[in-house]
Amino acid sequence: MNMINKIFHTLFIVVFFISCNQNSKKTSEITKKQTSAFLNKEATKIVKENTVPILNYKQLSPFLNKNDNKTYIINFWATWCKPCVEELPAFEKLNNDYKDKNIEILLVSLDFPNQIESHLIPFIKKRDLKPKVVVLDDPDQNKWINGIDKNWSGSIPATLIYNKNKRSFYEQSFDYNLLTEELQKFIN
């Protein structure tokens, strides 16, 4: 029984990777385990293969709507956005300090596709950025900005904190104290 489960699991992941590469629209079916596995694998790819996952809104959605026991911190940023870069250390520190607190940080970069190789990847490598990074590339901003939070005007930096019980969106900059203060509302 266990064996069959394992085979199925592996199959699912394989299918997910293939579908992702082909920009398939089936990503809403992926489960929480697969999204984590996806990110872990992609994180090593950033360093080894000089690539970072590029997702459209539909592909990003599963990461914004998980229903497990973790608290997720999703930060929208870009290397060209000065206040975004300035607040990154707070997220890096949180990633380190809250390692065992059942949280997960995802940095959603809004860098332009033609600047991923020239700006984003060197930036990630140079800073040795530990939280996971994906690029959101979807031209229909009017749709996905409202989809992520209807009160978001579209200004970055912006951060979404959520778990299965609570969800808050912050169109603002964070420092470490403010970030942990907000996070306490989710993990207690």
Binding site: P139, S153, I156
Partner: protein, 205 residues
């Protein structure tokens, strides 16, 4: 005494509701926009009331440094050229505090306007008092004002220029043009609010 106490509690409750629910400040669609006066890059002061002989104004909060602002510069010039002569000129405003936003100082504004050939005023919200009235949060952020029968400017559209910032050749919906076409036909714009990514307006912490 008890009545006083409950009154007090009620007042506090109301006050806290009033302060918490109104998270989004600034003009709403349909609101009357007050006059403002700001310095243009040529050193002259420009007021909204200077435009009372027009049908309306396309107010664009924008700046020099933001890549999204840069992507839209040519399209904003095109909007001005297209609509200035039929009653809807562009007025651009830089809302950033240059001490925290490198390249957004008054001299750089002059340089940028000259090198891009801006056909419209480029005003400096030096005291950062005007952009909060509009509820502008980012650059670029467009606000279309339409003059009503009482000669007041009414906020008629908030949002983006169009639906594709990065690729002007792939734009499918020209939000601002559509809103102005509606206004020119004498009806309220069908789409009054749209969204796009932009750079946060820079203020001292």
């Amino acid at each position: 005494m008890k009545i006083l106490q409950s009154l007090l509690i009620l007042t506090i409750a109301f006050a806290s509701i009033a302060f918490t629910t109104d998270k989004k400040n600034g003009y709403k669609i349909g609101d009357k926009v007050e006059n403002f006066t700001l310095k243009n890059i040529d050193g002259k002061m420009i007021s909204l009331n200077d435009y009372k002989n027009k049908k309306g104004v396309i107010v664009v909060f924008t700046c020099n440094h933001c890549p999204y602002s840069k992507m839209y510069e040519d399209r904003i010039i095109a909007l001005d050229k297209k609509f200035k002569n039929i009653g809807y000129p562009v007025v651009a405003i830089n809302p950033n505090d240059p001490s925290v936003s490198l390249g957004d100082d008054f001299d750089s504004m002059k340089d940028r306007a000259e090198s891009k050939g801006f056909t419209f005023p480029y005003l400096f919200d030096k005291d950062q008092k005007i952009y909060p009235k509009f509820g502008a949060t980012k650059t670029p952020h467009v606000f279309i004002l339409n003059k009503n029968h009482d000669n007041n400017f009414i906020l008629s559209y908030i949002g983006a220029v169009d639906d594709n910032a990065r690729d002007a050749s792939n734009v499918k919906d020209r939000y601002v043009e559509r809103a102005i076409s509606d206004l020119l036909e004498g009806t309220a714009p069908m789409v009054t609010e749209t969204k796009a990514i932009g750079c946060s307006i820079k203020t001292k912490k």
